[in-house]
Subunit: 293 residues, 2 copies
Amino acid sequence: MEFGNIERLQVGTILQSRREMKTLGYHTPIQAGIWGASKTGACSIVLSEGYEDDIDEIDYIKYTGHGGRDPRSPKQIADQEFTVGNKGLQISCDYNLPVRVWRGFQTKYGPEKGYRYDGIYYVKEYERVIGVSGFYICRFHLVSEDSYEKIIDKIDSTIKDDAGTPERVPTKGSRIKRDYSLPDIIKRKYSSKCQVCGVQLKSPSGDIAIGAHIKGLGKPHEGPDKLSNMLCLCPNHHAQFDAFSFYIEPKNLEIKNLEGFEGKKIKIKHKIDMKYFAYHKEIFNEKNSNTQN
Amino acid sequence: MEFGNIERLQVGTILQSRREMKTLGYHTPIQAGIWGASKTGACSIVLSEGYEDDIDEIDYIKYTGHGGRDPRSPKQIADQEFTVGNKGLQISCDYNLPVRVWRGFQTKYGPEKGYRYDGIYYVKEYERVIGVSGFYICRFHLVSEDSYEKIIDKIDSTIKDDAGTPERVPTKGSRIKRDYSLPDIIKRKYSSKCQVCGVQLKSPSGDIAIGAHIKGLGKPHEGPDKLSNMLCLCPNHHAQFDAFSFYIEPKNLEIKNLEGFEGKKIKIKHKIDMKYFAYHKEIFNEKNSNTQN
């Protein structure tokens, strides 16, 4: 199982069948959409029939894992679990492994015939939530390593005619680049002390803290890269904040749902825009109401 | 400043001069070895004269930052700081950004003439230590995204004759792949409780803990991927362990140099090989004796 770019395989390449993809070693399972396992992670997925919960925006894909479907229809009839390929995609997220994405002729932005290789994506988040069917699904948020415009450039001529290019104005070069000096500014303001617990972690190469975005950068959250959207957190509370274990009440800055911190407020030494806390709280509610542990 | 692969630029490409590299936009500074800044990270470095502390093993490079040198000789005459390009490489490490590496004709494994593009590397670690000159240097450990054998395959014909290929037996396909199920095994053994502090971090997508390697995987540490080389740690103590803020005494498992944990021992529920703690302690001593904060 090879991860990442395969030398001979160019973005935009179309193969006629799943069997051909198997023969060339690009995606070995003939049926399964996910090529992956719990030891290795998942290296490749194929978008084909599509689950009822899927979303495709070319550079961003909301993808449902496998399992729990009626063999005779695309209907969900049982819960999905983080096993086999779903576990593989979870590993690919946790360890930031590259995933090759193929779009089939069955999909909105796929080719007229066969399966097209659309490049490397990364799994940015996953969750297990109740899908529209009423059953639990494993959901993955995949983001392309290329910008929307770059992908379109490479595959444009092969997108099927009836779908056309999606309604979005190409904005070449307008992609916001991240400013890596902002985390340093935040860390200096708080002397690298966590705004939740106050811990200051020393190391021989400098204090350890994370300049964390409240509303996540880029897809799927599209939060802005500015100080008013950032916090200074220790790695533990950063991991829990990003996993929506707790939230900050935008009305009074109280820490909510975090053991040992009931009724406490975060320390503030810079201007934060409360709408980002409100957004984070909204996702918190979605993930925590929907989730089985 | 473009990061990562550039479409037209193949690994093994040789350009005749730094000016040509600038004109084509591959490495814009004419003199500086590092193309980077504190806001963006560093996207490209050129290995040329070489600092007295540098090591080049093709897939692994121990690279000294810039600054503090006598303008008329390669001698170090002052301390280096994490500013400009050095700050850029530090950012590239913290955020795992791809760095393009060029080897010049002046280097052991460079081409006969000009500068050869040798592909994408990642900065795995950095430190500020006293170099052989007696002055502080910023040191970076870069590891290629490709295996040693793959790089050699791509550039072999252009390595200068007098250096030849380095003395190492190519071991195609023998590269150890990581087993991503091991962290899960470790986490289950400890119910995701940190072996240092005992904290158990909840989240809606499962408990948060890290199956951490004691002797780091791959270059530069070359630790093995097995349970006897692993710990279950919370993100905070993982970050501090990896940054050599503290160590575990191999003789008695006591936690050393960590505020609040003096005289305490880590909890053990699986077999750990003490030689990995001894290795980690050795690096701890090197980093902490040498380091200025």
